[in-house]
């Protein structure tokens, strides 16, 4: 028997041993059922652990940006703070507003959380480490992500609160707008990789080079659109505390609020992990085991998101929609055309990569130039109006 106990293969080895042990005294279908359920439990556990880590990380990064200490009371460096938060959430009173639509109010956190957790099924955590290697991986990710819109709408409507309702309207406007550029960028990646499966996309990057090097323009577009999809600052108009207090979860308390909180950070983790898969070569990397590379890259991306949150001011909702429809969608369409033509016309992969890179730089310069010109025209028009 070959040695399966390498660090690279650690998690799969544990699974194999467990499966063999169960197969010793259980029928085959029960073993399959137990192992599938176990994968679901492990994914849920990863989700919750990731949220504990991320909530601590968010506070520490925010504290660093604000020149403060952040949580530092419980445990070394305040490391036990997330557990204190979790216990606080669990023992808080659950309040349902008198006028709320109880059915929608109670259902909303469930939809939001389930939609967020389901995205984990197609994340390639390492070599041969994806819960379900669907041949529609990316499509599944996008489809499940769209479930959360329904959850937000339900929360906004069920709460019977004007701020929650405004947030629900914003959710529809913003999330549907940014689904388009996100989809266009994903199609560019899929065209280069020639597959919708997340594992195949990673393997294609082993062959052609990481896609953010090939397509920097598309990557920047995806980064901005994805942060709007994940409701991260500067696009967190749905929960803008200074305008609509907290948006859709304003009336929620205790564990139901915790579920929204959970979903938000699960989305952050899954979105960053998907960005790593699409543009940063997923689990590819030298020396270290593949799953460790995947985690390292994901946390670097998450750190960048937190950094942006603490550095940039929030933009207005009309600006968010304007940028989405007037800049990102056209830029995405141009990028899509460029990627398609270059990929089909140039057979040699190295030359195609170089041409794609040059075209993408051209795309970035072109979009920046057009945006700058539009801004200057607006300013000149404003000056003209002032003079008159």
């Amino acid at each position: 028997m070959e040695n399966i106990w390498t660090i690279e293969n650690l998690w799969n080895a544990i699974g194999t041993v467990l499966r063999n042990w169960l197969a010793g005294f259980l029928p085959a279908w029960l073993v399959t059922l137990i192992m599938d359920l176990l994968v679901i439990v492990v994914l849920l556990a990863i989700g919750i652990v990731a949220v504990l880590v991320l909530s601590f990380m968010e506070r520490k990064v925010a504290a660093r940006a604000g020149d403060r200490y952040g949580p530092n009371r419980w445990g070394p460096y305040g490391l036990l703070q997330p557990f204190a938060d979790a216990i606080k959430m669990l023992i808080k009173e659950d309040i349902i507003p008198h006028v709320a639509d109880r059915f929608s109010f109670n259902l909303a956190p469930v939809i939001v959380t389930v939609g967020a957790v389901m995205t984990y099924a197609v994340l390639p955590f390492g070599r041969d480490m994806v819960a379900a290697n669907l041949n529609i991986g990316i499509l599944y990710f996008a489809a499940v992500g769209s479930l959360s819109i329904i959850g937000l709408l339900t929360a906004g409507w069920g709460s019977r609160n004007k701020y929650a309702l405004i947030s629900a309207f914003r959710a529809v406007a913003q999330l549907i707008t940014y689904e388009v550029p996100v989809g266009l960028c994903i199609i560019c990646v899929v065209m280069l990789a020639g597959s919708l499966s997340t594992q195949d996309i990673v393997l294609a990057q082993q062959e052609r080079g990481w896609f953010f090097l090939l397509m920097p323009g598309i990557f920047i577009l995806y980064f901005l659109a994805a942060s709007a999809e994940m409701i991260r600052c500067p696009f967190d108009l749905l929960e803008a505390d200074s305008e609509i207090i907290a948006g859709h979860f304003i009336e929620y308390s205790g564990m139901k609020f915790a579920l929204f909180f959970l979903a938000e950070y699960i989305h952050l983790f899954a979105g960053s992990a998907m960005m790593v898969t699409l543009f940063f070569g997923g689990w590819l990397g030298p020396w270290l085991p593949s799953w460790l590379w995947f985690l390292i890259k994901t946390f670097v991306v998450i750190f960048v998101f937190m950094w942006i949150r603490n550095t940039f001011p929030r933009i207005r909702i009309d600006q968010v929609l304007k940028i989405g429809w007037k800049v990102m969608v056209p830029a995405g369409l141009v990028g899509l055309a460029i990627t398609g033509f270059v990929d089909k016309l140039i057979a040699d992969k190295l030359i195609a990569g170089v041409v794609l890179f040059i075209c993408n730089i051209g795309l970035i310069i072109g979009v920046s130039y057009l945006m700058g010109r539009a801004q200057r025209r607006k300013e000149m028009a404003a000056e003209g109006a002032a003079l008159r």
Partner: protein, 163 residues
């Protein structure tokens, strides 16, 4: 095992569909409709048509249902139990719905349902589907649908444009 999952999925789908049409609260109906769509997506998964399952959720739940809910939220007097569920044109709606039911029933009745499994889908199913869409057999309807969508897009912009 597959049979059991199929029965559970069908029961959930049909049960939710029943609630959609019997529930008095429109917003709750829309939420149950989401479960129906997801249940149908699950049935597609069982038929090994993963691509259609993904598209089903993306289009029906992500886009169409969102618009339905949006329309419901923007309509007046929705949560008021004193408002009657019917208006004066209920008989016209009943006739149209009845006709649609007859057409669907006839189509379903006449369709030659395959009694035996048709076979496993090929591994490269999505690529074949994409190529079929631009093959001579389907390219005309495909392009006509594209132009229809473009026309709808231009039309909506025209309506929304400020003058």
């Amino acid at each position: 095992m597959a049979q059991a999952i199929f029965i559970i999925l069908s029961l959930i789908t049909l049960g939710c569909a029943l609630v959609v049409v019997t529930n008095r609260n429109l917003f709750h109906s829309a939420l149950y409709l989401a479960f129906v769509f997801v249940g149908v997506a699950g049935l597609y998964f069982m038929l090994q048509a993963e691509f259609f399952a993904g598209i089903q959720v993306l289009i029906y739940v992500g886009a169409i249902l969102t618009l339905i809910i949006f329309a419901i939220m923007l309509s007046r007097d929705l949560m008021n139990p004193n408002v009657r569920g019917f208006n004066r044109q209920w008989w016209a709606a009943a006739i149209v719905a009845g006709l649609l039911f007859v057409v669907l029933a006839v189509v379903l009745w006449r369709a030659p349902w395959p009694a035996a499994p048709v076979g496993e889908p090929s591994a490269d199913f999505i690529a074949e589907l994409g190529q079929a869409l631009v093959s001579p057999a389907y390219v005309l309807p495909f392009e006509v649908v594209s132009i229809l969508l473009l026309a709808a897009l231009v039309g909506s912009i025209l309506i929304a444009r400020e003058r």
